[in-house]
Symmetry: C2
Subunit: 607 residues, 2 copies
């Protein structure tokens, strides 16, 4: 790097210190222009709730100026402090920092670059960690448990818990109703519990964890353990890398008990209406078959990306004599040994199900309707996640919490640029594997811009398989492969658009899930669903993720166009990380802390 007299050699510490000193001065002076001028020409500021009461990314000095103009005065940021020695690599200085706002404390990560002799921010992440006066009772602030002294009004922990359970939803309304008790609902329920926000998690399944237990029997998590921790209670270090579904089910059930999450199983929400005047929902539920009306102030749909099975309407479904199952209802292969099964779809569930069927001596055919992105599980772990979520990362001091913030600090606009080289590595490493698949006629893709699995997940939540072995079955023909669209079912076969007839005793629709927006339409109304618009996706203008660019996952974990309606979900990583910001938004509203939302996006797509 060229050094001039004006910019003598600085250590990363000095550089970060100078930048923060200048930034804080500008903010304290409410000098928006000066603060915005401290960002590089191409730059990104991602804020999780701390300035914007939103999850939003602004770009370049212009976007920074917009954000600060709207938020600086009431946010009152201060006390920026570098947390640990900043590091420099490839001309980028990376620094962890803490800061405060008028109402909370936050943590962030900045990447500084030199531009025209000035130190400027290239990426800035600001996140809210806690609300002042509402810190969680943890560590030195943990509760006593025993109440010392003699007290005639004393009630034991068990008596209080039993009273609470008896009152909840009857004498006492939850402030937040979380619909859906998978990892998302449970993680949020735990955070709200910790924050003292009265909440209730409801789920249609009898027990926590049944969401996993009920899936096809060979299912294991496709993400490794280091990526999957829930808040507060990490998996012990003997936990398997890829948790079997029943084991994760048991963990979730234990977690609900240990974290004292108020949870109703066997409970279905049948309708919800919002009274604008009262600022209150009326939610009709059936709990163990009995109708009940709940009146929460906030409703969170945590029914998940994989909650609403999508079964295409195909002529002949009524005449087909065999079984038809959506992948989410497929019990596993045991009953189908020696039979013929057609699996429609070629993503994760399709492969897992085909593999297990083949293992049980089923004659199985996969119908590929469009191209699929495949990565081998071990390559994904090593190349895709290893730097942040692995034993090596842990040994290098990258805790789960740090990894989450590093991950969150990479702006979605440029994330694909970081991803492409990783997938190029994988393509090279596993070249033979991909050769075999292509020779077998399998339609492969790497995402439209070659950015691979994680971008596909963020953009559309589908279109990939993390290979744990079943791809080889397709490559060598043990699992048969057919291509095309399904045009109809006969009494005993699946017919494709090229006329191919695939005899079948069972058809499995591994055809994915509907938009989370559909939950809102079913539960509330089409009008509200349309007002809220599409849920998930970044606006990348790629397949199933239409533009314009939005820059954040649509409607997830942040205010929507329907007051008091929220969406929560995603994988275990997202359930862990984003539940914090959703919980803080709900806590602020519960406490009456003003939450002026900046940058609520326009709605461009319904459904």
């Amino acid at each position: 790097m060229t050094q001039t007299l004006d910019t003598p050699t600085q250590t990363p510490e000095q550089r970060a210190h100078r930048w923060f000193t200048g930034f804080e001065e500008a903010l304290r002076a409410r000098d928006v222009a000066r603060a915005a001028g401290m960002f590089a020409t191409t730059s990104f500021w991602r804020d999780l709730v701390s300035f914007s009461w939103n999850i939003t990314t602004v770009e370049n000095p212009g976007g920074v100026a917009d954000l600060l103009t709207a938020t600086l005065e009431h946010t009152g940021p201060s006390a920026f402090a570098v947390e640990e020695p900043p590091e420099e690599a490839d001309g980028v200085t990376t620094a962890w920092f803490t800061f405060e706002t008028a109402v909370g404390r936050g943590r962030g990560l900045v990447r500084l670059v030199e531009e025209d002799g000035e130190t400027l921010a290239w990426t800035l992440l600001t996140t809210l960690s806690e609300l002042k006066g509402h810190e969680e009772p943890r560590g030195p602030a943990r509760p006593m448990g025993a109440e010392h002294g003699a007290n005639k009004e004393r009630r034991t922990w068990l008596e209080r818990r039993e009273q609470e359970e008896a009152d909840l939803g009857i004498g006492v309304q939850p402030y937040v109703l979380v619909i859906g008790g998978g990892q998302g609902g449970i993680a949020l329920g735990a955070r709200l519990r910790q924050l003292g926000v009265p909440a209730l998690v409801v789920d249609k399944h009898p027990r926590p964890g049944d969401q996993w237990r009920g899936r096809y029997k060979s299912l294991c998590l496709h993400d490794p353990v280091w990526y999957d921790h829930l808040p507060y209670l990490k998996f012990p270090d003997n936990w398997p890398v890829f948790s079997p579904k029943d084991k994760i089910g048991d963990w979730l059930e234990s977690y609900v008990t240990v974290m004292e999450v108020p949870y109703w199983g066997s409970t279905t929400a049948t309708s919800a209406t919002f009274d604008e005047e009262k600022g209150e929902w009326t939610v009709e539920v059936e709990r163990e078959g009995k109708p009940l009306t709940l009146r929460p102030k906030q409703v969170v749909l945590a029914t998940g990306m994989s909650g609403k099975p999508n079964i295409p309407a195909i002529p002949g479904q009524d005449v087909f004599r065999g079984d038809q199952q959506h992948s989410s209802a497929h019990p596993g292969p045991d009953a189908y040994a020696g039979k013929k099964v057609v699996v429609i779809g070629s993503n994760n569930s399709a492969f897992d199900i085909c593999g297990a069927l083949w293992e049980h001596d089923v004659d199985v055919t996969m119908v590929q309707r469009s191209s699929t992105h495949i990565v081998k599980s071990d390559s994904l772990m090593e190349i895709g996640l290893g730097a942040l979520y692995s034993e090596q990362a842990l040994a290098a001091g990258v805790t789960t919490e740090k990894a989450d913030l590093i991950f969150a600090s990479l702006p979605y606009r440029i994330l694909h640029e970081f991803q492409i080289p990783l997938y190029e590595q994988m393509k090279q490493k596993d070249a033979d594997f991909y050769d075999r698949l292509e020779k077998a006629g399998f339609w492969l893709d790497w995402g439209e811009d070659g950015s691979g699995l994680f971008m596909k997940y963020l953009r559309r939540g589908s279109g990939y398989y993390i290979d744990v072995g079943a791809a080889e079955l397709v490559a060598d023909g043990r699992v048969k492969l057919a291509h095309g669209q399904v045009v109809r079912l006969t009494e005993d076969a699946v017919v494709l658009d090229d006329g191919t007839e695939l005899p079948a005793d069972l058809v499995v629709y591994a055809t994915g899930y509907g938009s989370m927006n559909g939950w809102a339409a079913d539960l509330i109304s089409q009008e509200v669903a349309d007002r809220v618009g599409k849920v998930w996706g970044l606006g990348s203008d790629t397949t199933k993720d239409p533009g314009p660019w939005e820059g954040e996952q649509r409607n997830m974990w942040k205010p929507t166009r329907q007051e008091a309606l929220w969406f929560h979900g995603g994988n275990l990583h997202q359930s862990r990380h984003y539940s914090l910001y959703l919980a803080l938004q709900l806590k602020a509203r519960y406490e009456g802390i003003p939450t002026p939302v900046h940058g609520l996006p326009e709605v461009h797509h319904t459904g």
Copy 2:
């Protein structure tokens, strides 16, 4: 310290390094005299299983020579390495180290002093951490969970678990039967599971945790959370300092699920006999009322110190018309509002029960039969445990595992010397409190040598109350106090030896628990129980802990005079820490690794 030319100033690092170099040389040369000469005139070597296959402390160079003469050749110690920078204070250099033996890897702590210009060991702790070739599958060695690839023989985690449950005790015998499923049995069960030793934990209560749930309703742990972690899975940092009984019950139940501990509830062991020839036990159990014979190779009695209620035989117990309950069966105060209750005893349970009864408007009298040691809970936490088990200790890098080893490194012979000043501090800090109690006529003591609560616990496991508030009720007379021995019960009163009649609707016997040896007598035979001798106690020649000096807790976690019979128990700290050494001893036997036991003590006391 005086420095001479022969002993130039050394850093703690140099001193520790020199000592270990010399020690390892002497051991490698099998030079017992030289190795023993590296210990101070008064010195202690405590070994947990690594040299002695026993839990034993030897004293002074003579004892070291005895230990090494018996164990050095087959132990083959090597690779002593100082783990982190040693520290020096008050002329003592303290160093953490690792080492190896022929069959395992260990960790230890040494305290070095200068004596006649030489660096000598004052205390040495050696512990076995793992067996070579049998390392636990944790961290980087954790299991994969998912088995990648296609495999027609694949069985899912759930299928394997179900098969295992169906076979255990019927088609497949456990190598270890653990009788008693409280924290002790569960912690040991978890460790054996991790080590791949087929084991089964049985308990008479239906669900894990019921051992706690069934106790009096106001019960909370008297030890703070930092002291109470189980192996592998720590309490989350929102866990209360003093866990309420039902909450710890839920934790234990979740722990059994999460750690996959093979556990049978509602199961009572009715008899056990050992076949010396076959090296196998025949244990008759009743599982949910159905008789079943188990044939384990090893039996662990983990029924606990608080497992066998001791109710004194008192004339008139058959004519008393009210209720009589041992403290362990007392349900709590709710049914006794407005009634008269006499609680016999003045230790932990007596105080807790009296306090709760008073809170529920019961007319309650405590009968003190002998003096009691009382410390205030917060003083005990701050002065007694704070340095090792607290948020402050954690912040200073003293993890639970380190604290356990530091604790274990203090030889029992001199432990009271470390304890006395702590209790003198407490006495001073809470002088007013003790004054009030004495003025109320309460008989106080501080242990026979003033060494306080923990020594009482180690010596006799009784004789104290950790005050959480009920002592004030006695001090100010809200709970009435009577003194003396109970000589008989009438139809409606308790009569003391001075003739005092205490009217009673309920008598609670807070009279403690029988020796764990009694379990062996009941289950196996009096002959075996007598051969094994007294369980618990150090041989301190104080009340309820007769001499001669034994130096370790009798028969706990180590071989007994009955082959294949073991005792496990104690508080959560001991259940956590010592379960490791017991598990390693069982694992070694399971794998056929030779385990020559050194220093099996003589039996001096039965019962």
